[in-house]
Amino acid sequence: MQVKDQNFKPLVVSFCCNWCSYAGADLAGSSRLEYPAEVKIIRIPCSCRVDPLFVLRAFQRGADGVIINGCHPGDCHYTSGNYFTRRRMTLLFSMLDYLGIERERTRLEWVSAAEGARFAKVMNEFVGKLHEMGANKRLGDIRCKE
């Protein structure tokens, strides 16, 4: 049984596509819906802009979880971007899982511009799960640790 560190603050990099999820996150803000401050958002034009390199980079630098948010299938501003994302990230996450990097640390979510509440809920859930798991020890770079 893992002993939970109460002071552990998971670091979460959240990629949000400009058209849906970033706006969804904006709506969560303007609706004053709380989610953990450990979530830091990076704006990208489309979820399909997320290179596996970015995901690994985040883990390297000490992220405990990486979540990619895009428009719902069928709603992509660029019509097909999120479909490519879905294939790429399914395979990447599966590969990370295969290497023993817990699958709960990576996530792909569809959040529309109208789903502020959903954005907050997803972030709360994701961070909650990371709290249970503790710090990322399997894909960090020792040089980036304090």
Partner: protein, 320 residues
């Protein structure tokens, strides 16, 4: 083969022949380009010609001449992939498909205690002469890892075939057995397995250099401007990073030729990373074999509206 090569080279039909050259020891062969018909004496084709010649065509194809290349059935998949990515011009090639009975792994001979090899007679049973006496053993005991999941006897692209009827039916094992076994383990066990393997990596780049899908002019890991350049693995992370990204970059393009593992001086089963992607791709998006034809698109270049969501990886059966 030699006669055919001689014929085409002397007649000027081709400017070069890409084949295997014998080395000093009986199990020693290496890919070689022959430009001179006289030099063809050194050409060889035996059980140790496991190497896949298709990638050499990228460099060879830059010359203004036609190249004769000998390809085993499995090598033709790689060539198709190269053709689909415009890495090689089909019209510059004269492809002779050759038969294959499964290639031999000298490391497996060594682990059987067979050393100091001076000669080999290849039949269903191998007769091996060594400095310390003769050995006999069944061919299938010492096949290369890649031959254990042989793709079959058919050449997927060729101009003519020689001796293809001499190909042997190779037992087609379950190529996903090891991948499935790992999937069945706990994350901690998988992590331990891969740490053990990847920590052996010395970043010699042999896997990358031999891989017929690794065809970038400049690898992101060599490009100082990419932001991820790393010539060596300084940390555990970089060991993971290199192999994950390399596998991802060839995902959907890798024909599972197994060259990466064959050439790895550290014996890392790199092909198990590629096979994981192949297994997932085939499982999630429909059976797929890269290089089946030169017109095939990588599953990462297309999509289906009804594709599975990433949580499919948590729902896999027999997985924990």
């Amino acid at each position: 083969m030699r006669q055919k090569a001689h014929e085409l080279l002397s007649s000027g039909a081709v400017g070069a022949v890409l084949a295997w050259e014998k080395g000093e020891l009986p199990y020693d062969t290496s890919p070689a380009v022959f430009r001179d018909a006289e030099a063809l004496d050194k050409m060889v084709y035996n059980g140790f010609c496991g190497s896949n010649l298709s990638k050499y065509l990228i460099e060879q194809g830059k010359q203004d001449e036609k190249v004769l290349v000998f390809l085993k059935p499995c090598d033709t998949y790689s060539l198709n992939q190269l053709l689909s990515e415009n890495r090689v011009a089909r019209e510059k090639l004269h492809i002779i498909g050759i038969g294959c009975k499964g290639k031999l792994d000298v490391e497996k001979l060594r682990t059987q205690g067979i050393k100091g090899i001076t000669g080999i007679e290849e039949n269903e049973t191998l007769k091996i002469q060594t400095l310390y006496g003769d050995h006999e053993l069944p061919r299938e005991d010492v096949l290369l890892e890649k031959c254990l999941s042989c793709k079959g006897k058919d050449h997927k692209v060729y101009d003519e075939l020689i001796g293809e009827d001499l190909s042997a039916d190779t037992e087609q094992g379950d190529k996903y057995a090891k991948v499935a076994e790992l999937e069945g383990q706990t994350p901690a066990e998988r992590f331990a397995f891969w740490r053990g393997e990847l920590s052996k990596c010395i970043r010699c780049n042999a896997c990358r250099n031999t891989c017929p899908s690794c065809t970038c002019l400049k690898c992101v890991f060599d490009n100082a401007h990419s932001g991820v350049a790393a010539k060596v693995n300084a940390t555990e992370f970089e060991e993971n990073m290199f192999h994950i990204i390399r596998a991802f970059h060839v995902a959907g393009r890798c024909s599972d030729c197994g060259e990466c593992s064959r050439v790895c001086p550290q014996g890392i089963p790199i092909h198990l990373l590629n096979r994981k992607f192949i297994k997932d791709i085939s499982g999630f998006y429909g059976e797929f074999q890269a290089g089946e034809t030169a017109e095939l698109n990588s599953p990462l270049l297309c999509y289906d509206l009804e594709d599975a969501e990433p949580n499919i990886i948590s729902k896999r059966e027999g997985d924990n």
